[in-house]
Symmetry: C2
């Protein structure tokens, strides 16, 4: 197996944290997004979607997003479980990961990619060109604020997002919190349950993966 | 168990098709989205996100999106498998479902909700109010066209989206094709692999669920 990674991007860290939690160490190749290496013919032959992370499996075929990669790793290396143990917990991991993606990650990405100079005509990842939409950036920033309240309310009830265990849902949420904070869109310390959870996650060795 | 459903909306059909494929028959309650029943206090107490589908589990707790519900059903009623059998197939189901959601379903929803009169200030599902963004509607329609080419290319290689077996990825893609077609955004018949697959899926009894 081989992971195509970019240390400065948020999405691949989701995979690196899962690898670290499972104690796996696999070959990694960096793809320099800042110089546009994801659009090179060489990388397009690996992942036509021009995104990272990508995972080349042992049969040579390639998985092209963090969600499929995490699923594959969970099935092949089930311990410790990162996608839940009981049917109910597995469903809650799925539900929180979907919310985090739609209400958190996409909102931060909208706020970022629709304003940053480097992303002109590249407001969505991938090979197609899409112009920036300033109203979408503003809406993204509004949505992120709503989402922090959602996370804080949830974490006032449970230690981790899917319940009592640390799972891939917490990994995903931590990546969003970090990504947003770099852009000055992070959660206020006033949201004390979210702040306490963030400290707990930051203290795990995988948080530095 | 009890499913909160709305026969006129696309998302709940994803769950109804999975239930039909698995031969499950559970109590269903309709939530009339057209009259705004999802915003009633009674429904907010069930699903604060004000969306359908929702699944009340036997312990009384509620799953609030189709992805978590399908995962729960798969874990409790594994046959026939709808989320893949081998690690590789499970990962490909995950990858295609994520692409279908982001590049297909969201694109159609953007095209629809940012123009339809009935969705003024309701451009995103849920209790928050968000104004329509006409540029986002136009971009959504562009993205849908790109996505049909992606599906057609994939289906020129494999019988179904994740490979040789009909899975939840095909269910999700079929819902997007139907949803888009109702809005005159459906795929052209010129995309012959996609058209042939669509006929195969439409012939399954679950397509009428």
């Amino acid at each position: 197996m081989k992971l195509y990674d970019c240390v400065s991007a948020p999405s691949p860290k989701r995979v690196r944290m899962i690898l670290a939690e499972k104690g796996l160490d696999i070959p990694v190749e960096q793809v320099d997004l800042r110089s546009g290496a994801q659009f090179s013919e060489a990388y397009k032959a690996i992942n036509p979607r021009c995104t990272v992370p990508a995972l080349e499996m042992e049969d040579g075929s390639v998985l092209c997003d963090s969600r499929s990669i995490v699923r594959f790793l969970e099935e092949v290396y089930p311990n410790p479980p990162m996608l839940g143990e009981t049917p109910r917990e597995k469903a809650l991991v799925e539900e929180w990961r979907t919310r985090i993606e739609q209400e958190g990650f996409m909102a931060v990405a909208e706020a970022f990619r629709n304003t940053a100079k480097g992303f002109k005509d590249s407001a969505i990842t991938g090979p197609q060109r899409y112009a920036q939409i300033p109203e979408l950036a503003a809406r993204g920033a509004d949505r992120v604020r709503v989402f922090w309240d959602v996370l804080d309310a949830r974490l006032s009830d449970t230690a981790f997002l899917a319940g009592e265990n640390f799972t891939a849902a917490d990994v995903d949420a931590y990546i969003v919190v970090e990504f947003a904070s770099r852009l000055q869109l992070g959660p206020s310390e006033v949201l004390e349950h979210l702040a306490a959870w963030r400290e707990v996650v930051a203290a795990r060795p995988s948080a530095n993966a």
